[in-house]
Symmetry: C2
Subunit: 211 residues, 2 copies
């Protein structure tokens, strides 16, 4: 049974610990490739070209989009964000499961374009925990915390479009859980139609041979 | 997050090794309960009351069905087969994942009645392997083998209604795979609507509290 890569979309509230979780997943298992988004926004302190994002000019971004070189893209707060197509397709072809960490609108676009994509939503163990984590960073003003909580309320409305939730309580347990969900997804009937059809034909041939 | 039991329906071709697989799954992990069907057919050599089936009279079966005491039932070759409801509901309520090993028509009835049931189909690694296993038992006539292959061709048409396939090549690997699929199913959005709704309400309260 040839293993085909799955396009895995990961979203979650700001403060749910998505970033750390993704890093740990990729570090722990070798079947994953992390898709890096392209953006026209300025790099922030500590961000590295090709690690957090590919930072490009508005012109370069629009050219890429015009050549159908992005799986999806969107504009937020005056900046473009998009998923380069080539990397995703190459890695999927090699049998890697490709992780896209994107927000909900992007996730829904992906699902429409790639119905076999797997949509995961990372949740904090409780709303109270989410607030604590947001405040706990210590770097955010009360205003920013409130804004993020508001955004979480909005995002929570969209969870119904996702396939699985992953509750991020303990990092290691959650990493295993995430891996287990993605691994199981490889066995979905919808992702093995070719193999099943092949089995049907083999059975037909055998039965005819018996006559 | 309170764990609710999942109703797991397992089907598969005769000779795919379902029985051995189920026994190994239940022996290896403690979160499963195996539902035993009720039938009006005569016990075969080596079959034990309450292990393979509950063997009852036609009258007793019809009484049970009339009292809505069966989740599903059907008549094959003049005998009734059905799934007693009480055991399934008690075990699910205790958080156990309940395994029903039934054929495809029964499986589809279950899915209709319990949309959150998980439908698994056990496959041999290849059609050739299936034939070898059927022949390898040594106890079957050529006629029986042909009949089973024919039946497999028919059953293979219904695989599209299942959620996952499990390829039974190596028993231990397949057991882990099966367990992994069922475990992942607990994280499906569709099986956690109550928890997600609760999170939404908690977030709402928090945001209102911030104002």
């Amino acid at each position: 049974m040839k293993r085909k890569g799955i396009l895995v979309v990961v979203s979650g509230f700001s403060g749910a610990g998505k970033g750390t979780l993704m890093k740990n997943l990729i570090k722990t298992y070798d079947n994953y490739a992390l898709s890096i988004s392209m953006t026209t926004r300025q790099p922030r302190d500590g961000e590295q070209e090709g690690r957090e994002y590919f930072f490009v000019s508005k012109e370069a971004f629009e050219e890429k989009a015009g050549q159908d070189g992005l799986i999806e893209y969107a504009c937020y707060c005056g900046n473009y964000y998009g998923t380069p197509k080539e990397y995703v397709e190459t890695q999927l072809g090699m049998g890697k499961d490709v992780i896209l960490e994107i927000e909900i609108q992007g996730a829904l676009k992906i699902k429409k374009k790639f119905p076999s994509a797997l949509l995961l939503f990372v949740m904090p163990p409780s709303a109270e925990q989410l607030k604590k984590r947001l405040a706990g960073r210590g770097t955010e003003t009360q205003e920013v915390i409130e804004k993020r909580l508001h955004r979480a309320v909005e995002e929570a409305k969209g969870i119904g479009s996702y396939d699985y939730i992953v509750v991020n309580d303990d990092l290691e347990m959650c990493t295993r859980e995430l891996h287990s969900i993605i691994r199981a997804a490889h066995s979905a009937v919808a992702r093995n139609e070719e193999w099943i059809e092949n089995m049907r034909q083999e059975l037909d041939v055998l039965v005819k041979g018996e006559k």
